[in-house]
Amino acid sequence: MAARTKVAVAAAACVAIALGFAGVAQEKDDAAKGIEAYRQALKDGNPAELFEMAGEELWLKPAGPRNASLEKCDLGLGPGVVEGAYARLPRYFADTDRVQDLESRLLTCMETLQGIDTRAHVEARFGTPKKDELVALATYVAGMSKDRPVDVAASHPKERAMFELGRRMFFYQAGPHDFSCATCHAQEGRRIRMQDLPYIPAKEGAAAGWTSWPAYRVSAGQMWSMQWRINDCFRQQRFPEPVYASDMTVALSMFMAATANGATMATPGIKR
């Protein structure tokens, strides 16, 4: 077998050299094709399903000082309606007089229904138990909007303002690297390393981003919510850390969701 192995490696090397001479474009195409096949192979059996199960269990489990479950949580479609709710977030909620994304709204329900002081959840690092709960809940709720059209028109004045704030934030440059969201996400058809970068100011790119989170990240074997996704974008932008569920994060989500309006939810996703 060893000899056969060597032949295979040598053959692969020859192919690589031939491609090098044939031109850069060809090599890129082959790499992109290989990666497309890889991504397809991952789609069946997304470990995100494990987190949907865990999230549903948390949703139904009585917890907090009031020993209540989240079953009566109003995610915008009335108390207890989970199906289709994520496709219509973020939105304005009269009871809090705020525009809220899913995770911000989950905090509200934990406070009002379960009597939980959620400050510790806000403060907790991603990847620690309190944030894991929120990510699992978000994965469960988002999964219940799979295949539904995004319905975020940003028609309420406060929703419109949130959209504009999000758009302004998207272009806000700062930090030692002069990065903004736009640095990577405002040019079409580009990538970082091998990662395709969605062009977020237009519908198709906004949809590619917005409709595929929460997603299972195979690199770390972690489930990431949209809040975690945004948090890590800012980390790589060399910004300070976003405050979980803050208006800033909701504004960016509103900018993406409303730009993606009408696209189909593909939650939960799976990413490299």
Binding site: M1, T5, A31, G34, L42, R193, M194
Partner: protein, 153 residues
């Protein structure tokens, strides 16, 4: 299924013994002692020797289905299909992993010689599938390239 408390209690007392004593594991299940020597093999040759395969022959009837490039080595989908009659075992190796043996799949009369899993790969490497059939060992090899991650690398 057993509830959590019961599982805790069982674990404290040595779970396998407890299961067997309670008759919760079918007799067949306790049998396959994990092949420590094979899983600790640092080379394909060492690991092969530990499963009793001194020689292997290349065969087109053993097929590895996987993409040529894995975007991330942490999760690499691999399917192995054997068309060799009488296949009783499929063994999967990653040549450049610290421990080369990834898994041993026993193919009884009730399952097809067709298994899919996801493996970790430290780096670009050959992946080998060895099939045991009628005491013979037949092999197939495929190179899978592992690209670097995105930012932060």
């Amino acid at each position: 299924m057993i509830d959590i408390e019961r599982r805790r209690a069982l674990k404290a007392g040595g779970i396998l013994a407890a299961f067997a004593a309670a008759g919760l594991l079918p007799a067949g299940r306790a049998r396959a002692a994990w092949n420590k020597a094979a899983f600790e093999g640092k080379t394909v040759q060492e690991a092969l020797a530990s499963i009793g395969a001194s020689t292997t022959a290349a065969s087109d009837d053993v097929q590895i289905i996987a993409s040529d490039i894995a975007e991330n080595g942490a999760v690499v989908p691999v399917q192995v299909v054997s068309r060799v009659p009488g296949t009783t075992q499929i063994v999967l190796f990653v040549e450049k992993n610290p421990n080369v043996l990834a898994g041993i799949f026993d193919i009884g009369p009730d399952v097809a010689a067709d298994v899919t899993t996801r493996i970790k790969m430290m780096q670009t490497s050959n992946v080998a599938a060895v099939v045991k059939a009628d005491g013979r060992f037949l092999a197939s090899v495929k190179e899978i390239k592992v690209t670097l991650g995105g930012c932060g690398g």
